[in-house]
């Protein structure tokens, strides 16, 4: 099972230049409202797809806003293939 910490670890590796303290992120709040910009999120989503061999369709992006949203979605996708 993928945890919020797993998701945060990937996010922290992919945030480029933006001065964000990952440990201060609120897990159920939209990342965009916590200072993470659209480019960082695009790169982060790609990293999730690669890491877990899943696909996150563009149509889903509007629903995936917070760390928790991403964690739940990744686990749902992994459950489908297991």
């Amino acid at each position: 099972m993928v945890t919020n910490d797993d998701i945060l670890s990937i996010l922290s590796n992919k945030i480029r230049i933006t001065p964000i303290n990952i440990s201060n992120l609120v897990h159920d709040q939209p990342l965009r409202l916590q200072g993470i910009d659209s480019l960082d999120i695009s790169v982060f989503i790609f990293a999730l797809e690669e890491k877990y061999s899943i696909s996150i369709p563009t149509s889903k992006i509007g629903e995936l806003l917070s760390i928790q949203d991403f964690q739940s979605y990744v686990n749902q996708q992994l459950a489908k293939v297991s």
Partner: protein
């Protein structure tokens, strides 16, 4: 034996008029760091409203004439890479042909390709020159996106600039320049909606980031492998100047430094099909790099990587 055609010289035209992204901070709720460190575009070159695509091509041709002596009666082929033609009919190459007063025997055609347009153009023009024994060709690129960008669209209005380039390719016995060694191409299934234009430009930045990272490094590595070369053998990577983030991500993936894969669009913006030849120009003039790899990617989602080698 027929010699291989070479890229002899490149002329460029970048409009003097600039629009600053710093004026858009409030409108798009972004900070200076997003401009400098992420998209890497501080100002965008914007053409004069009255200038058509063909006019920009002619201005790039005038720049080309500063470094090359060109006998217009000896041009056998004229190609314009554009998705923003002067008008739907005729092809822009015919208009440029008329404005330059070229011979009626000169072949003219447009290539509808976006950010991967220059490597597509080099491959097509090189092949035609070899097969038909053409001696001189002019390859233009010009995609003035200011014609189609919606100024209220954050995804696109911070990014794109206008420019045109004119590349002289020759096929003579005393060839000196960069010849095309090999290339690979691709268009991803189910991806064309990433960048479209019906009324105005629409771009899914997230899709493009994903497609680039999935496809482009592999395309470059495959090209190198097929030619028994390693990344370290390439003296210069000219990557499509999509944004600072995109170029930096590719640099990291390929493990090359800034000098080997430069990013040079802070003052002009992403000029689509012209971004590669604009960076390439000074290196074609200097002729010091032995192997240059160019890679374009974007509209389609199409991508193309080409290996160029110095011949002298």
């Amino acid at each position: 034996m027929i010699p291989n055609p070479v890229i002899k010289s490149i002329g460029i035209f970048i409009p003097e008029n600039r629009e600053s992204n710093y004026n858009l901070l409030e409108r798009f709720e972004i900070n200076e760091q997003f401009i400098t460190k992420k998209i890497g575009v501080e100002t965008r070159a914007i053409k004069d409203k009255k200038d058509e695509t063909s006019d920009l091509c002619i201005k790039a041709f005038h720049d080309l004439c500063r470094t090359s002596q060109i006998d217009l009666s000896q041009i056998n082929l004229l190609c314009v890479v554009t998705q923003n033609p002067d008008q739907k009919i005729p092809h822009t190459a015919a208009i440029v042909h008329q404005k330059l007063g070229l011979d009626k025997s000169c072949m003219t055609f447009d290539i509808s390709q976006g950010c991967a347009g220059f490597p597509h153009g080099i491959a097509i023009v090189s092949a035609l020159m070899r097969d038909l024994n053409f001696k001189n060709a002019l390859l233009f690129t010009c995609d003035p996106y200011s014609k189609i960008v919606n100024p209220n669209d954050k995804n696109t209005s911070l990014l794109f600039g206008d420019a045109a380039t004119a590349t002289l390719m020759t096929n003579q016995d005393d060839n000196c320049g960069y010849t095309l060694v090999n290339a690979n191409f691709g268009t991803l299934q189910n991806s064309y909606s990433c960048l479209t234009c019906t009324d105005s430009l629409q771009m899914s930045g997230r899709d493009i980031v994903s497609y680039v990272l999935k496809e482009v490094p592999g395309s470059i590595r495959e090209l190198l492998l097929n030619n028994n070369l390693k990344i370290q053998d390439i003296d210069l990577f000219v990557l499509h100047q999509a944004s600072r983030t995109m170029v930096e991500l590719l640099r990291e993936n390929l493990n090359v430094n800034e000098e080997t894969a430069p990013f040079e669009i802070m003052e002009i913006g992403n000029t689509v099909s012209s971004s590669i030849p604009i960076v390439l120009k000074k290196h074609v003039d200097e002729k010091t790099k032995k192997h240059i790899l160019i890679s374009g990617f974007g509209v389609g989602f199409s991508f193309a990587s080409s290996l160029l080698k110095l011949v002298n």
